[in-house]
């Protein structure tokens, strides 16, 4: 029995460290290769020894697919390919291929240089790893080998994020990665055609949330910033380098443009500058507005946003500063925060979730006095705002995607177990498809009933089509032909052609049957009686009386002969070919019942 097996090594009932193994049609594919933010030990990478105890990964895995450049989807890639050892192809989209190494390098620096970890992958390893990458375009069907093919769909979320369809024969799996069903200022909405996959593996971060319209959030954000700037205050927006940062930049940039504002906006240098460069290049991956207007002006060539210099923080007058990192736990954003916190005219806007223990979390939970290092106490007088700009699909969005793709079954990953439970129930109820939510290391086995394609000759198809008058796509149709199985492919051809191809002579199979009739008259008269009887009964068949005394119904021959021993009984010889079996047996049963009493001859 063919089956699809799915084993999450990470992201099973969990957020972070996405890594899912899929076996489909004898092919093994690894989806994403991420790391976990929450751990600093071995647990941060997926347990690749699960795949194969001894033996090379390359022999076991046919390919690796990376959905987007976030570290929880690609962070373990150099470790996996260089340190564990994998030499097969790694597929990702062009933007992901471009941005991924920057993030990996940054991650490596923090881990090795700042935290001083040993036994970590090196810069060279990142480079080597990226050499194994094969970049794909959207909607491009890539033939991994003869049977396995993959295809990328647009997923929103971040620049270059893609959903992947993995197809072997007639079975297919769609892996969504992270996606967003509502468009934002710089990215479009995820889209997939009605590809009807056997299994849809979807993320479910917001399985139990239905979000408000993004317009309210945007308006609130802009209003807050605008008001503060008009008051002459300074606005600090701590962000992570990629993704949301660009979204907020576009938002503020267009607002400044529209409202003709003059206050400067700064962006902390370093990683973000590099990233912005890539955003400028991959215009085709952005939303309608940016794509359409980039001929006049590339939206990522910011007019109002300039690079930040440390000295600017002390400048008088209003300004807006984007600074990394996003949780205010270290670096430039914290420095600026300390400078500005004392003035109630200023404002800090936290655009995302903050981990417990960080300064960001503390001020969001309302703490007004912060203890800094060196026993300093920092009093926070500035306004603290929270704005959530998330780029994941909410429950409605997930359902929408499931509706669009029409899968035969659904598997949930990248979410909390409790929330998945709810969504699973909903999916089963609304779409009546089975839904799974395996934990890490747990294998889901899906028996499939693959359809076997059979080629049919055009002549036969046309002949059969011509017989039916009205088209009806859904109804099964009976068809006569010969199935030829040769070299593991199947063909349906007409029997004549099959004979010809196989070099066989045609044999005819004829059935003959004798029916005894009690009739004293001559053979000819009996034949006439049979003829008139059948003629009366079989209105829609062609019944003929031939000059030699025999009767034919279509191609069935009936001859009457006198019984050699008993002249009172006549023997009717009924003969038909194999093809007319139905009619022939019907006729014999009819004749066996006897003829009706002859109206003329009897009296």
């Amino acid at each position: 029995m063919p089956e699809i097996r799915v084993t999450p090594l990470g992201a099973g009932q969990d957020v972070g460290r996405s890594c899912i193994l899929v076996s489909i049609g004898g092919k093994n594919v690894m989806l994403d290769c991420g790391m976990h933010m929450g751990f600093n030990d071995d647990r941060r990478f997926p347990d690749f020894s699960y795949i194969t105890r001894n033996g090379r990964l390359t022999d076991f895995l046919d390919c690796v697919i990376i959905s987007h450049f976030h570290l929880d989807h690609c962070g373990a890639l150099p470790y996996f390919s260089e340190m564990v050892g994998y030499d097969g192809p790694i597929y990702m989209t062009h933007p992901t291929q471009a941005i991924c190494p920057i993030l990996l390098e940054d991650y490596r620096k923090i881990a090795v240089d700042k935290k001083g970890e040993a036994n970590f992958f090196t810069s060279q390893m990142i480079k080597d790893c990226m050499k194994k990458v094969v970049a794909v375009h959207l909607h491009q069907t890539v033939q991994v080998d003869e049977e396995l093919q993959i295809k990328a769909y647009y997923a929103g979320h971040v620049l270059g994020a893609a959903m992947f369809q993995i197809k072997v024969g007639s079975e297919s799996v769609v892996y969504t990665g992270d996606y967003n069903m509502t468009p934002d200022r710089h990215l479009g909405a995820a889209w997939i055609d009605k590809c009807r996959p056997t299994l849809l593996i979807t993320e479910s971060t917001y399985a139990t949330t239905i979000r408000d319209s993004k317009r309210c959030r945007e308006r609130d954000f802009l209003k807050k910033v605008h008001e503060t700037v008009e008051r002459g205050g300074k606005v600090l927006i701590p962000v992570f380098a990629l993704g949301r940062a660009q979204e907020l930049c576009i938002l503020l940039e267009t607002f400044w443009e529209r409202m003709n504002l003059k206050a400067p906006i700064y962006f902390s240098t370093g990683l973000t500058e590099k990233a912005n460069h890539y955003y400028k290049l991959f215009i085709t991956w952005t939303n309608q507005k940016i794509r359409k207007t980039f001929v006049q002006r590339n939206m990522f060539e910011f007019k109002h946003i300039k690079a930040f210099d440390r000295a600017f923080a002390d400048n008088p007058g209003p300004m807006v500063v984007f600074a990394t990192p996003g949780m205010l736990h270290a670096g430039q954003s914290l420095q600026i925060f300390r400078k500005w916190a004392g003035n109630e005219k200023n404002m800090v806007i936290m655009p995302g979730y903050c981990v417990q223990g960080t300064v960001g979390h503390k001020i969001l939970s309302g703490q007004r006095k912060l203890e800094m290092e060196g026993r300093q106490v920092l009093e926070v007088r500035m306004q603290v705002e929270y704005m959530s700009f998330s780029a994941h699909a909410d429950a409605k969005g997930i359902m929408q995607l499931v509706g669009q793709a029409e899968p035969e079954s659904v598997l949930l990953v990248h979410g909390e177990a409790k929330k998945m439970e709810f969504l699973k129930q909903k999916i089963e109820q609304e779409f009546r498809v089975s839904c799974y939510m395996p934990a890490n290391g747990e294998t889901v086995t899906l028996p499939t009933s693959p359809s076997i394609p059979v080629g049919i000759s055009l002549g036969l198809l046309k002949r059969e089509m011509a017989q039916g008058l009205l088209p009806d796509a859904k109804k099964p149709r009976l068809l006569h032909g010969t199935l030829i199985m040769k070299d593991s492919n199947f063909r349906l051809v007409s029997s004549e052609q099959a004979l010809k191809e196989l070099g066989l002579a045609e044999h005819q199979l004829r059935f003959t049957c004798r029916v005894h009739l009690h009739d004293t008259r001559k053979e000819q008269e009996t034949a006439v009686r049979v003829y008139s009887h059948l003629k009366g009964l079989l209105k829609d068949h062609c019944v003929q009386h031939l000059p030699d005394g025999s009767v034919t119904v279509e191609s069935i021959l009936i001859q009457a002969a006198a019984h050699s021993e008993d002249p009172g009984t006549k023997v009717l010889l009924v003969s038909w070919t194999y093809q007319d079996e139905e009619l022939g047996s019907y006729l014999t049963s009819l004749l066996k019942k006897g003829l009706p009493p002859a109206p003329s001859g009897g009296s």
Binding site: S213, D220, K223, G366, K396, M399, K419
Partner: protein, 964 residues
Amino acid sequence: MAAHLKKRVYEEFTKVVQQQQEEIATKKLRLTKPSKSAALHIDLCKATSPADALQYLLQFARKPVEAESVEGVVRILLEHYYKENDPSVRLKIASLLGLLSKTAGFSPDCIMDDAINILQNEKSHQVLAQLLDTLLAIGTKLPENQSIQMRLVDVACKHLTDTSHGVRNKCLQLLGNLGSLEKSVTKDTEGLAVRDVQKIIGDYFSDQDPRVRTAAIKAMLQLHERGLKLHQTIYNQACKLLSDDYEQVRSAAVQLIWVVSQLYPESIVPIPSSNEEIRLVDDAFGKICHMVSDGSWVVRVQAAKLLGSMEQVSSHFLEQTLDKKLMSDLRRKRTAHERAKELYSSGEFSSGRKWGDDAPKEEIDTGAVNLIESGACGAFVHGLEDEMYEVRIAAVEALCMLAQSSPSFAEKCLDFLVDMFNDEIEEVRLQSIHTMRKISNNITLREDQLDTVLAVLEDSSRDIREALHELLCCTNVSTKEGIHLALVELLKNLTKYPTDRDSIWKCLKFLGSRHPTLVLPLVPELLSTHPYFDTAEPDMDDPAYIAVLVLIFNAAKTCPTMPALFSDHTFRHYAYLRDSLSHLVPALRLPGRKLVSSAVSPNIMPHEDPSHQFLQQSLERVYSLQHLDPQGTQELLEFTIRDLQRLGELQSELAGVADFSATYLRCQLLLIKALQEKLWNVAAPLYVKQSDLASAAAKQIMEETYKMEFMYSGVENKQVVIIHHMRLQAKALQLIVTARTTRGVDPLFGMCEKFLQEVDFFQRCFIADLPHLQDSFVDKLLDLMPRLMTSKPAEVVKILQTMLRQSTFLHLPLPEQIHKASATIIEPAGESDNPLRFTSGLVVALDVDATLEHVQDPQNTVKVQVLYPDGQAQMIHPKPADFRNPGPGRHRLITQVYLSHSAWTEPCQVEVRLLLAYNSNSRIPKSPWIEAGEIPSQVETSIEGTIPFSKSVKVYIMPKPARR
């Protein structure tokens, strides 16, 4: 007896003329008819290869074929069709047959048999499809002939089983276009089976080819368009198609569902999987709403558009479209809109958001949450957030239409519309502002909503700001804080964009007059008066101060207690503004000032009548006085013209009529004056100088008649006749004057002929109106026409002269509504002393902003003229996109004019003005002759010219020599 003889002679002459014309006509026919088809025949016979034949056919198709020779051509084509083996040539012939059968004046029933005949023997699918197309052309050409239609439908049904989708498509198209409408009719035509076209088409809804499915739905829609009532059973079939794999099928299916829902809104359909039943229109509404989140944006646009026109839907369903149940971690959450509302009703101002402010409240029963509602839930929320701006615009439009028909829905959708003011695409923002204006009668803005609306005032796009001003003009504000906020924001706008001055003042005018009671408590603050101290008198020229005053004065109009709060200088400023900005400042009943209340009473209606009467009387006086001595007539005309002009200035409603009549009278006056010239009594050569006057008069009359014809909107045919008549008189005058002043007969010959042609043309164009012109110049002229035709120029001139003198003064009937086109250039203001400097040879862009009143089709008629000091004139055609249409009869031109010149030594002024271009062709009713193109367009028929219709503005410019 002599008269009788004369008449007979004329009759004979007329006959001769007609015969000549006929001859020409027949000649033409004889020449063209055989040549066309014969040439084609020869060409086709010559063709050695299919490619050659195809070339000939293509060449042939470039030229039109006359109706008479179509049949011959068709025969030849058919003949070749039978012989031809190459399908591509047959295809071309088939398509030519279709084209030819569309020829006007040709009845294609004669070729139908042949077409059906060749259809039966055709093997190629493409040619088959083309032939069916030809049949469709034939069928649509003969809509009355039932039996032909039946036959064609029969043919279509027969080919429906074809294996090619193209053929099936065409068959369905044919069925949709020709399928019989009523059963009763089909019974009359015997011999042909009665077919249920709807059922046949419906069967193809499940065809295997998506193109055929689409064609089937389109055919069904076509049936509906032709007035056939679709069966309700189609609804279920169409619903199934909504989940089709192909977008064009879904898109067409949405339309079909919409059509059925409009046909049977009240019938009841069951809800699957439950026992409930709902109205069909509600069910369809729900289904179309569901399509707003379809995968294809084409379908989404289609669905969003159609939603707007489903007005019968019940309010319960309608309101669901704006509802998206929010939740977070399975707990119910309030939307930002709800929070804002609550904040507002609790009387608290926005205190800034706290972390966890939007924390979810109550738990949700997991079983009750329906994630993909089959109903209308949140359709508009999705539509307004869509990625494609086309969908968003469609959704906004739909919201607008639904809100106009349902006040409660209008109230609910307000929050969403306000949100759209922040869309990333300007077009969407603009559209939503306009939408809001359209529904503003139904709504009152809350303060927080107003706040969001006003934030958009800082937008850098002028269109957005002006649209917003228009919106504020008709908005209802609920509190005095709201008014104050609006004023503050508008003043901020004014300082940021000073060019918005007029628009802002106008906006405040309406804001004040709509909310007098809300303005009242604000007055002391706004005027910064103090109970004890006198405050400094504000600067009267400050636009911001004027803005505040406009608001207050307009509020004071209906609030008599307000003037008591004014300080002295306010009253002075009022008097000043009432004079200088009378369109913005209304008349007030101020204590101690009688003049205002007596001079202008608030009620205008009784006032209108006397002035109108006066107008009528003075015009009647003129028309009755035609037989007085010339001196008296002239004086009367002069007085009346003066009266009318003054009346026009005083009464703006009557300005159009008064000006129009005055212009006409002026023409008449000029004509009389010209005929009074001494020149007529004296020998010709002596009075060359005086003749200048007469010819100048003729020229001026011509100009005035063009103005009358093209500068006024609402001119009807009645008036056009009179105007043309006047012009004809002017031309006659011109002819006479030239005859008197030039020596030699040769130039006169041409002029005479031209004049007679024009008379002829006049007669042809206005043949229906001639009875109204009894006793007029043209009436007499036409009587004498035969004689004029044969006379020598000198004689003609003589006749014309006497006729001009004898002709009576035609009464000009006044049209119902007549407005003079006018334009005011707002920018450039022409006050600047600083020259616009630029390097010679390069261009400088000059912003031109003008308002146009009562201009029809400004995109084609309005031009900008720039006059340079050296007399060089330049005409600029503004782009169609430069015209905005802010209201009925009003247009706004905002454009850029590029100036350039060689270097000057010192700055100089160029003049900028607007011109109205006209084309005399446009007004003349089309006679069938002209349409057929038999008469080559005469000189008369297309005179183009321009009329200046705005004051010219001087712009100081200085092209500098280029530096090396």
